[in-house]
Structure formats: C-alpha cells, structure tokens
C-alpha cells in the first residue's frame, strides 16, 4: 500500500505576518485543501510541527487543531527544529502505513516575530551544547561558517562559489510570489556584503520568517477519492549527528544528511541520477553546496564546481531550490520542510508554473535541523 500526498499549502513567508499563529495555520490548511474532495472531519489525525522555544503558546498543537476543526481527532507536536515538518511527514507516513490512520494533516508553522529579536538571539545561543559550547557565544551562522572554512581549506571552494548559490536563489525568487525576498542579487553585491560569521556574509545567510505550511497525506485507496493527482512518498530517511561541534567526525559535510539520503535512496530503489528536481536545506550558501555532495549530486568537494557550472539551474544536470530556497523564501523554522515538500509536489503534479521542470517524475527534499543535527530526506514520485 502506497502512502501519498494529496494536498499541499503554504502562506506567504514574511517578516511580520500580522496575524496569530492559529490564523497563520488556517491559511496554509485552507490552501492545502483547495480543490480536494476532503473536509476537516474526514482527517483522522493532525501533526503540528514547530520549534516551541519560539512560540508564546504552550503546547500549540491543541490550539491549532481546535481552530482548524480537527477535534476530537488526535493531535500532537513534532519537533526537530528546522526539520520539524519533515519529521511530521515521517510520522504521518508511519501512521498510514501501519493502518492506524488513513488521512493525516501535517501542519508546520513558526511566527518568529512573536518574540523579540533579543529573545530570538538568546534562544539561538542555546541551540548549541549549553554546557560546553554555548558559554563561548556560538550561533547558527558560526556553526555553518566553520563548515565553510573547512570546506574551503580541504577542497578549494571559494567565496565566489558560495555567492553563486545566492545569485541562483535570487533569480528564482522572482518567480515565487510566496518568497519573503523577491530580488535578484549580483555576485558583487554578495561579495561586498557585511560579514556575519567569516567567511559567511549577509547574502550567504537565510533570514527568520513568519509562515505556515500544510501537507495532507493519505493512503493510496483514500487518495483516489480525494484528488486525481496524488504524489507518492517512496523514500524516507532520517538520521542524527552530535549536538556538540567537538563530537563531529565530518567538518566538510553533514553526516546526518549522508545517512538520511542513503536510507531514502534505498527505500525508493533509486540513485541520485534518477532525481529530476530537488529542494535542499540552504539555510546558508555552504549548506546547499554540502547538500549537493552529501546527496550524491556530485562527488565530495565538487559542490562549488557544480554551482559554478550552473548545473543546479533549470536545464542543468539537477535543478535545485528553484523556488528560491530558504535564502530567498525565508525560514519559518517549523514550516520550512513543508514548504520544500510543497514545491516538489507542485513540480511532480505539473503545477509549478514558470519554474516547471519538464517531465519531472522523481523529486527529493533534504531538510536539516540545527547545524547538521537532524537530517531528513524525503523522496516523492509522480
């Protein structure tokens, strides 16, 4: 029995959404249910995905389920920071595969503007090992910057190659009405931007955002009554790495992504060459380059060359993040994975508009929590 995604939805991602978290989730939920022959009452369970340290509401799953009309069905929160909604999909898949539930809604959200930026900064610092690393003052960009520095040293990757990831992102952001930053940027702009954590500069880093995403998963049998264009979930991989920097065996790639990718390819019975379009977790430019390598789109160390040769643009060997990626869309932590999956589902349904990859049949989503802490890879098929 196949597990499918029948509907996907997303709010625009932006800086100050101006609505409450329940309303934000409702918008994504409504967007996902559009054109489906499905009512909230027919949904058997909901999984709400967010990083709760950024929420004012305690235990937000209850509130969201109530507002979406999903009581008395079971609901709970799934968390793996930035990859929370991919984790939600993994759990929904298991529910359906086991026969426990037939139709499951996965709703991811984050309203980063709900708390002050000082509060956000305080929480960012505690994302590291609070006993041994947070006392030195690290934050997310510093973690990826250390990977970038090591990657440049080992493979000769350049700041220009990093910047080219953002140049691609900017180009495609113009075609995504839901992206926070819809602006093309030049290589010069990227290279001249202020340093955040060397060698990463402003345009190498994504920005926090408000937003929500929603995916409706259903068994193959139920899917037939809900939509004509279900997309099958054919591969799921998930892995973890140490929270501490000191524990990492790999400084030039994310082992959790390599492992999750292997699992997903094996389950889907495909190889990296079979992927027609991919969404990778480009929270930082270096993260996209490492993703190319960790997912096998190129050999280790050749990621910089792959973007330099424009192989990850539409028409290249493997189009990646052609919705603008996190670098342009913005990063509403709990909603991000759902937004990536939405992009791939639309591609496989042939509904991607100006960014449609001709004949896309197999798509891949790479969604990472923390600095390579939680790795999630999902493979979808038309």
């Amino acid at each position: 029995m196949k597990v499918t995604i029948v509907g996907v939805g997303q709010t625009p991602f932006n800086r100050n959404c101006g609505v409450s978290i329940r309303e934000l989730c409702f918008e994504a939920f409504k967007d996902a249910l559009e054109d489906l022959n499905l009512t909230p009452k027919e949904i058997d369970a909901s999984i709400i995905c967010s990083a709760p340290e950024y929420d004012r509401q305690r235990s937000p799953a209850g509130l969201i389920a109530e507002y979406l009309g999903l009581n008395p069905q079971p609901t709970f929160l799934a968390e793996s920071i930035c990859s929370s909604s991919s984790t939600g999909v993994k759990v929904a898949y298991s529910f359906i595969k086991s026969g426990l539930h037939d139709i499951v809604a996965v709703i991811g959200f984050q309203k980063m503007s709900e708390i002050s930026s000082a509060e956000v900064q305080e929480r960012m610092g505690r994302g590291a090992d609070i006993q041994w690393e947070s006392p030195f003052g690290p934050m997310m960009p510093a973690g990826y910057a250390m990977c970038a520095r090591a990657h440049m040293q080992k493979y000769g990757t350049t700041e220009e190659q990093l910047a080219k990831v953002k140049v691609k992102s900017g180009k495609y952001s113009l075609l995504n009405p839901k992206a926070m930053y819809r602006r093309a940027v030049t290589l010069e702009e990227c290279l001249k931007a202020r340093v955040i954590a060397s060698p990463l500069k402003m345009f190498d880093c994504c920005a926090n955002a408000d937003g929500a995403s929603c995916m409706i998963l259903a068994s193959e049998e139920k899917a037939r009554k809900i939509t004509d264009t279900p997309v099958s979930v054919v591969g799921i991989g998930a892995a973890s790495d140490t929270q501490s920097t000191t524990g990492r065996a790999n400084l030039t790639g994310l082992n959790c992504a390599i492992e999750a990718g292997k699992q997903a390819y094996k389950m889907a019975h495909i190889t990296p060459k079979d992927v027609d379009v991919a969404e990778v977790h480009d929270c930082f430019s270096i993260a996209e380059i490492m993703a190319y390598e960790n997912l096998g789109f190129c050999k280790p160390g050749k990621g910089g060359k792959l973007i330099e040769e424009s192989q990850t643009y539409i028409g290249g060997r493997i189009p990646v993040n052609i919705d603008g990626g996190l670098l342009s869309k913005g990063h509403p932590i709990g909603a991000t994975g759902g937004s990536q999956i939405r992009t791939i589902v639309l591609q496989l349904q042939g509904r991607a508009g100006k960014t449609q990859v001709d004949g896309a049949e197999v798509g891949l989503v790479h969604n990472i929590g923390g600095v390579g802490l939680y790795g999630n890879v999902t493979i979808l098929k038309r």
Binding site: E119, Q131, F136, G137, A150, Q153, A197, T245, L251
Partner: protein, 137 residues
Amino acid sequence: MSFSKFGKIGYVSETKVADFVKHLEKGKIMATRCRKCGQLYFPPRADCPNDLSTDMTWEELSGRCRLLTYTTAHFAPTGFQKDLPYTLALARCEEGVNVYARLNKDINKNETRIGVDLKLTSLRLPDGRITYEFKKA
C-alpha cells in the same frame, strides 16, 4: 563546587563533572577516561555510553593542539555582544580529542589558518568567572 562559574555565561550549574572547574582554577584542563573501556572524553563525561560504566578517572590534557576550523563572529547571542568580534575555533588535541573555544585576540588574522599549532590554556575572566581559550603555541 558548582559548575556555574564556567564560561562567559553559564547555562548549567549542576553536573557530575563539576570538579572540572576546580581543576581549571588551578590551570589544569582535564578530560575523563573510562576505566572500563579506556576511552578518553573531552568535554569530560561522567558516564560512558560504550559500556554504561560510570567508573571514570580525570586526566590532564597537555594543551598542545592543532586548529581544525574557525570563524570570526560579527553577531552574537544575547549577552555576548560586547565581546564582538570574536573567533570561535575547533582544535584537535594531541591526545585525540577535540576542543571548542575562542581564539585569544592576540593571534592575528594572518596567523589564523587551519593546521596551525595552538596552546589550550585556562582563562580567568575580569568578573572572576573562568574558562579556557586557545593561544599561540
């Protein structure tokens, strides 16, 4: 003794390895070694996941290490802003364990490169708190 004196800002006050701070006050940077399997741990651990043993012994690190990677931060979490910019670094000790700490500001930019030798030492902060940092070898 409590662990809460450790670091510029401490987030953990109670731990089985709080004696680390006592040693640090004397200028010694200590790792732990599992008596059962022989594994050396830094940061020190009280519990060994290899064999679930809690029979650990303290062992001083020589402080000789080599830079693995680094970044100079221009933005900081709340409470660290006044120190900016500062360089966070990861180094490999000759004993085979990794250490995460800041680079002393005396090391200039040209001298900061992956592979360079460093010396890990204890550092008393102006407010009486204690930590460790990397210095020139």
